[in-house]
Point group: C2
Chain length 309, copies 2
């Protein structure tokens, strides 16, 4: 089945995605050429590894392709930016057939088309080891500034989209990056800080606190645990630490939180939940849990983390 | 030795390269934020694999880092564009120490500083398999159009920089991407088509011919074989097919070739050699060799190619 690298590239070139006016030269030269316009440009890169981020015994190559693109699309959402193009580099196992490589690409392409983010270039290599897929994505902002992690202020309300925890039961391969939701949010209110929940609510909220120099208190009862999290032995732990939710976690000025909730209900079917507030930083502990009985305790910060041997 | 992913990221963040005015937000948010200006923007991605592109028994991790950046810098040169920023994704073997990971990064950083192309973001993962390193690089053009592979015309003179072949003897880990040379070339003459020689002279010239719809004749005696190629059993074969030379191969109108040669000698110490001409395409054979006795024969097209099991 397996053919040459150049045949595979020709196949990919013939199955290119929906074009965008920003793309002047796509696959086939030394570099793709873009004309992104005069706004701000953003870039992110994500490497997904067989046996770490996906298990080919439990998922298809098509789904792996989709997920790799979706992880980067979720980063674009976290900046409230519009994806414009992606490049992909793959290390294919030598045992992989041309049909399997095409299946991987079909999944990449499914996300590229759904989110109008064409694949404009790539690098195809092979070796006697498991599959590694890397996507690098460009996005831009037009009418507003990119939303960073560093703008949270004491007094802000903290919100999340969707539901959290239990993603490994299946959602982590088929989630829908919140690109449209993020672009909608910045039209309604001024988002002070935002991140997508990839490592887990506790770690990712800690990232916002660290970058902003603030603390945060979460109402335990308010956290929107998913059905999968509720089925687990520790639903709160799952919602706080499982990771790979790819929901948006963000902070809004206290004066705008009611406007946000009122306007959001009219414009989106995606659940939006207020889970707590930004507070003044207390020493090195940054994230706290508030229970129904009024107790406030430091939140354990843990979740999906590599390179911890 | 090995510490956490976040500690490594902090280390990298603290060892960031020479900044550029285009970089507004570097490592530490969901995406880096750039302001590349209104010109054309280019993107390329390169994946380097242990056991395929480098052998850790024969080279250092520092050299691997340098090479990964240098491959992408060479793509920027091939478009006659100016590198502005790079992101890096690594799959680290679980056995790798923090000191080794830092050594890899030191090599990436050496290239970033030498070519003024800061690392603005990345993704660090680990697994029980060999090292994979991926660099994605952005570049731009300011005063001229990007040089594509597709603009060669019958009658053009074909040139290469430097010397070819035998790169595996060492040069493939420590080559100097021809970024400054490419930017100099487009100031002197109109370059019709250009590519960097990564797969080998025969394949890469075939790429130009295919994209431009032309043929090419190379004078065998004119090909500048390197000292390493001359030591091999087949110097001509090494210069034609070894690959990983990372020299520039380009086409210039016949009316400008003398101006190029005269001006180049005044401005650069890098060797420039006229190796043949672009001709009208003949059926599916595109590249021909011309011998001293006048014989012209089709050139075998072969070189460094993956995924050929």
């Amino acid at each position: 089945m397996a053919k040459s690298e150049f045949e595979l590239i020709d196949w990919i070139r013939g199955h290119g995605g929906a074009g965008r006016p920003e793309v002047l030269v796509g696959i086939g030269d030394d570099m793709a050429v873009l004309q992104p316009g005069a706004g701000k440009l953003m870039i992110t890169t994500d490497m997904l590894l067989e046996g770490v981020h996906f298990d080919l015994a439990k998922t298809t190559l098509e789904a792996v392709g989709y997920k790799t693109m979706a992880c980067s699309l979720s980063d674009c959402a976290a900046m409230a930016s519009e994806p414009i193009a992606a490049v992909v580099a793959v290390a294919l196992p030598n045992t992989m057939s041309m049909a399997e490589a095409e299946s991987l690409h079909t999944g990449l392409q499914r996300a590229a088309i759904a989110y109008r983010c064409p694949l404009v270039g790539g690098d195809t290599t092979s070796w006697n080891h498991p599959l590694a897929v890397n996507v690098t994505m460009l996005s831009r902002t037009v009418d507003h500034e990119p939303v960073l992690r560093s703008g949270a202020k004491a007094g802000d309300a903290i919100f999340v989209t969707g539901e959290l925890g239990g993603s490994l039961a299946g959602r982590h391969m088929e989630f829908e990056p919140r690109v449209a939701e993020a672009l909608q949010l910045v039209k309604i209110v001024d988002i002070h800080a935002m991140i997508d929940i990839s490592d887990g609510l506790s770690i990712d909220l800690d990232h916002i606190c660290q970058e902003s120099g603030v603390g945060a208190v979460i109402d335990v009862e308010a956290i929107p645990a998913s059905a999968a999290a509720k089925k687990s032995a520790d639903p709160l732990g799952a919602a706080l630490h499982d990771g790979e939710d790819f929901e948006l976690l963000f902070c809004v000025g206290a004066n705008e939180e009611y406007k946000l909730q009122a306007d959001w209900a009219k414009k989106s079917a995606v659940k939006l939940t207020r889970i707590g507030e930004v507070v003044v930083k207390k020493q090195d502990k940054r994230v706290f849990l508030r229970y129904n009985d009024g107790r406030i305790e430091p939140c354990p910060i843990k979740g999906w983390q590599h390179f911890t041997n």
